[in-house]
């Protein structure tokens, strides 16, 4: 019953959210278990509510054993009291299971809430003056100013200033993050984080109570927990089975009287409780809460349980190459000069094109160029950096003398050169192809109309990613890699990483097209994204996982946010989603399979005419009923750890999983209670309760 099992071992070292205080959970859960006896709360779970009603009736029969007519048998009062006692504990155990699961969520929510104390915010008014207002009165599109040391009062977009922000309260990452306006990723701030240097002007993006932190608290706390589709369907099935057995037991009263073997109401209640699916009924909500909790432990915030469940159904993962399949940073490996230029020429042009480029790629180009002896031979301050954009797919520098150096996608650079009246050579294509075949990314470098050559950027595939894709394939999940690289490069990387399919030279529009195409085939698609232009695709996907480092738009469109900004987590989420369903299915099967043994314990005990069916050789009628009930009660707490941690998931095909789980939970569910009930009976007989 300790910490939830991590679907992937490697990840365990990287999670950091639960600063939650879990020490008092069990004491609190015990208290909660009693509070949940309130009929209004108990009614939410029809199966357990029926047990609770049965407990009360049994209690009445204890006080007045002849309440429902006299029944034969000695020690009726003691027997009734014992049944009442066991039934009461059955209800308590179920309540306890739910309370423990909720308690974990609450503890996390409390930890989060502590960061969200009410603060005063400096609201910038229309005339530019500043007014101090409580943070809770901030609305969307208000402008606020924060300075070093402040807790940022609300979610928002940076529109002025540059500052470092400590986001550890949410992400657990202690290194401060640079925030500045304009850039896609670095411009969004989250309420509850602390600005540790300088100051920022922020436009508030969430109304009070609707901020990221608020949503997160509500979710981990389970306040907004609505039942997921599968959970609803299962609840229906359990309710129907309960009704069926209710009819069976109630009508049995008349049948038993007719054959001259009247049964006491308490024994009938015992039979009913033994037959209805109390095991799964008592643990169902705990399983659901624990599933959400596992997601939260993984540092992912899901907007709904539905999204978590959908993860288990995902057929296709659409993954960006960069950052997910390969390490985010491609490094310059080599320069390939063409058109008669020397290595020194290309190095200096490449350097010139990259001096304003702060990306890891840019820096690696500078480093390689400097290693080759290139130097900046112009005045930096008089030159202008040209930023990369998705449209131009180039970046570079406009040099003081009016000449333009550019580097970028080969096509883009070709276009640039052509527009300046330059000519293209076949040498370029040869070099381009060579690099593509190596799985590298070729960047063309030019100065005005003259192409100097190609930079070979080497992609580094994340270690272990191939195994993950193999596992996914075995689970029936297809992976599609999206990359801006050309076909040849994409193919090499796709092969090396072991993805099933890839889309080369992809634009953001391609992303949504791929998703729609897969969905048209009836598949469920999951994807990750961070940029604003990913938002439509994130919304379109059945499971959209946004990076916390991403823009506000992306986070709002997604149904999950990864606080660690690690796109490979999508793969773990698939596992968690499946585990959630498997746990429900396995415990339901176990619960239903148990009925066989309970029948064989109780029916011969009830009817002397079929006493020979007592194949377990239970000591007496009363001890048989009590043993079955005690088993029925104890199995709930015994399975709480399983409900909370989930049934272990292995990346196998559906059929392999089924044969494994049906063996453990189906066959086990048939056999286990026979042994356990016999064992309890021996103890009862030994104690001499009879």
């Amino acid at each position: 019953m300790t910490s939830p099992r991590q679907p992937r071992g490697a990840r365990a070292t990287r999670r950091h959210t639960p600063k939650a205080d879990t020490s008092g959970i069990y004491q609190r859960a015990v208290r909660e278990a009693f509070i949940k006896l309130d009929p209004r709360l108990a009614l939410k779970n029809p199966v357990m509510f029926l047990v609770w009603v049965g407990t009360l009736v049994a209690a009445l029969s204890t006080i007045e054993p002849n309440l429902f007519g006299t029944t034969p048998g000695n020690n009726q009062q003691l027997f009734n009291a014992l049944v009442t006692f066991i039934l009461f504990f059955t209800v308590l155990f179920a309540n306890f299971a739910e309370a423990v699961a909720e308690g974990r969520g609450k503890a996390q929510a409390d930890a989060l809430r502590s960061t969200k104390s009410e603060t005063t915010a400096r609201k910038v008014l229309a005339d530019g003056s500043i007014e101090e207002v409580p943070s809770t009165s901030l609305h969307r599109d208000d402008q606020i100013k924060v300075i070093a040391g402040d807790i940022i009062p609300a979610d928002g977009e940076v529109i002025g200033g540059t500052a470092s922000v400590d986001e550890s309260a949410i992400t657990g990452e202690s290194a401060p993050v640079l925030k500045e306006p304009g850039s896609d990723i670095a411009s969004s701030v989250t309420g509850g984080t602390r600005i540790i240097s300088d100051e920022l002007l922020i436009r508030v993006s969430a109304d009070p109570g609707k901020g990221f932190l608020d949503r997160m608290i509500a979710l981990v706390e389970g306040a907004e927990r609505s039942k997921t589709p599968n959970e609803i369907a299962l609840t229906v099935l359990l309710a129907v089975l309960t009704q069926v057995f209710l009819i069976v037991v109630v009508t049995l009263l008349a049948l038993a009287n007719y054959v001259g073997n009247p049964v006491s109401v308490v024994t009938l209640i015992a039979l009913l409780v033994a037959l209805i699916p109390t095991t799964i009924g008592g643990l169902l909500s705990a399983i659901g809460i624990a599933g959400m909790d596992r997601v939260a432990q993984f540092n992912v915030v899901a907007t709904s349980g539905r999204a978590v469940e959908a993860c288990g159904d995902v057929n296709t993962l659409v993954l960006d190459k960069t950052g997910t399949i390969t390490l985010g940073n491609r490094l310059a490996e080599e320069f390939i000069p063409i058109n008669g230029h020397s290595m020194t020429d290309i190095a200096s042009v490449a350097l010139a094109s990259s001096i304003f480029d702060d990306t890891p790629e840019g820096k690696s180009i500078v480093r390689l160029a400097e290693n080759l002896g290139a130097k900046v031979d112009f005045e930096r301050s008089q030159s202008e950096g040209i930023e990369f954009s998705a449209r131009t797919r180039m970046s570079g520098t406009n040099l003081p003398g009016g000449s333009e150096v550019r580097k970028g996608a080969v096509d883009a650079v070709k276009g640039f050169v052509r527009s300046r009246g330059g000519e293209l050579s076949s040498e370029l294509d040869a070099a381009y192809e060579r690099i593509s075949r190596l799985g590298g990314t070729p960047l063309a470098v030019c100065r005005d109309r003259d192409i100097y050559g190609i930079i070979y950027l080497k992609d580094i595939i994340k270690p272990g990613i191939r195994d993950r894709f193999d596992q996914l394939r075995r689970m029936g999940v297809r992976t599609v890699m999206l990359t801006g690289d050309n076909r040849i490069t994409a193919e090499v990387i796709a092969q090396e990483a072991g993805v099933d399919d890839f889309i080369a030279e992809a634009t953001p529009e391609d992303k949504i097209a791929v998703i729609q195409a897969e969905q048209a085939k009836g598949k469920l698609v999951a994807m990750t994204g961070d940029g604003t232009n990913d938002a439509p695709a994130l919304a379109q996907a059945n499971v959209g996982l946004a990076m916390n480092s991403g823009t506000q738009a992306a986070k709002e469109a997604a149904n999950m946010v990864d606080l660690d900004s690690d796109p490979t987590k999508l793969i773990d989420l698939v596992t968690i989603g499946k585990q959630l369903l498997i746990t429900r299915g396995a415990l339901t099967t176990f619960s239903l399979a148990n009925d066989i043994a309970k029948y064989f314990a109780i029916i011969p005990a009830m009817f002397t005419s079929v006493g020979s069916l007592n194949i377990m050789g239970l000591a007496s009628a009363q001890s048989a009923v009590l043993s079955a009930l005690i088993y029925n009660a104890l199995i709930i707490p015994a399975l709480i750890p399983l409900a909370l941690t989930g049934v272990k998931f292995r990346p196998l095909t559906a059929n392999q999983l089924l044969s494994r789980n049906i063996f453990i939970y189906g066959l086990g569910g048939v056999v286990a209670p026979f042994i356990a009930i016999k064992f309890i009976d021996v103890i009862i007989a030994g104690v001499g309760l009879k």
Binding site: L255, V259, I582, S609
Partner: protein, 587 residues
Amino acid sequence: MFQGIFQIILTLILLVAIVPRLGKYMAQVFLGETTFLDRIAHPIERMIYTLGEIRTDDMTGWQYIRAILYSNLVMGVFVFLLLMLQGVLPLNPTGLAAPSFDTALHTTISFLTNTDQQHYSGENTFSYASQILALGFLMFTSAATGLAVGIAFIRGLSGKPLGNFYVDLTKAITRILLPLSIVGAIVLIIFGVPETLLGPEVVTTISGNSQAIARGPVAHFEIIKQLGENGGGFFGTNSAHPFENPNPATNLIETLAMLAIPASLIYTYGEIAGNKKQGWLLFWMVFIIFAVLIAIATVGEYQGNPLVNQLLDKQFPNLEGKLLDKQFPNLEGKLLDKHFPNLEGKETRFGWAQTALWAISTTATMCGAVNGMHDSLMPPAGAATLFNMFLQIIWGGQGTGTAYLFIYLILSVFLTGLMVGRTPEFLGRKIEKREIVLASVVLLVHPIVVLIPSAIALAFPDTLAGISNPGFHGLSQVVYEYASASANNGSGLEGLADSQPAATALWWNFSTLVPLLVGRYVPIIALLLLADSMTNKQPVPENAGTLRTDTILFTNVTAGVILILGALTFFPVIALGPIAEAFQIGK
């Protein structure tokens, strides 16, 4: 003994031979493919569609349901009026008056729902006109209605449009029931079943008295009675009557006739859904359960009644088996272990084996015809017949049985689907709340309308029930009656005073109406809505994460789900009825 086992095995082998052929043919008929009967059936169908002004386009679930309910209502009213007016209608050689109002109502609904529970004796209650035009008419239409539902359900599951009820109803009659009935009736006539409109023959018996021998247009009535899982006998003693079922040859034909369509329909599913493997797996699953039940019943019947055996033992302490053989040739002389097969309530021309086989077949297929007294079956066979009617899927009723089988399959898919970590899907279509609700309705209806009326009747055994055998057997009698009504089987354990003019007849006639109607139409509505919602779902492509439902493992799981969900519900009843009775006799 070997003769008996041979008879059973021969019947089962013939069944296995029939299934793929008839199953494929039915698939062709309902998929609209060309069959050898096209040339005759086409013009007839066209004429029916034109005369009936029937639009033959596909229906939605509700349209299909409305078509069934309205057409059944009209047919029911028509038949009820015919029965009530039989006194003034022709073809009434014995001059029978109209039956009592409650008998007519019970009979109409009983035949309308393909149940054919009879609280009367045919030859003494209904004229030839009533038997042919009213009851015989419903025997075709109720069977065809069931078949249409089964086919529409299969279509829905496999993502095809549900079809048109009127077209399916017509085709079921013109291409399946009618052709088979014509051939079957001719064969029965050849083997000695009468087909005449003449009144009873009055003969002088050996002792010099005169006796009226009832006869009538039996052969054509008999074959559709079996083939359509109707089971309502022309004569009160049903297929035990020598004019309904004169000899072992007709017995074989009639047994196969009742098994043929429900068993073949599973194969038809495989053809329509494009998964023959699954069709076969399900067929063998049901076949094995069926065979086990036959074994249970035959062993019980073969061993006979321990109380009777003890008596015979005392009477003939020193007799060798062979001697007795000569004395009682019809006992088959199986005196090993001094056990006599149970022959009470059996026709000696069929013996214990053919009667046990028939009893299991008729309760398995919801036919309800009998060739012996089920009341006299030993407890193992009694339990097996009840088990059949509780589960309703060991072949099951015409069309509906196969559909119920898929309800269990859907529930199995739901549980196992969760267990492999995916939203459960069947044939690529997701099983969600709506499907579970509808499947649950089917699951819930049967216990409600079997157990609740049984409990009421047993709570007032003297005033209401009129039970002849109090105790465990009496409980079986009552539960059997309602189970038979709700499962639309129609056979009875008898021993209940349920025919007019008994005082309790009114209670039985009216209290069985609820299980008859609810047991028939509520599941049909749920099945068609379920089919409708499945066919409108976007299919999910299959991959390694998809749970295959056409594997031996999954079929075994389905069998487990059937046993747990279906059988455990009724375990207390079986325990207090046949099992307790067995212990009582065996003491």
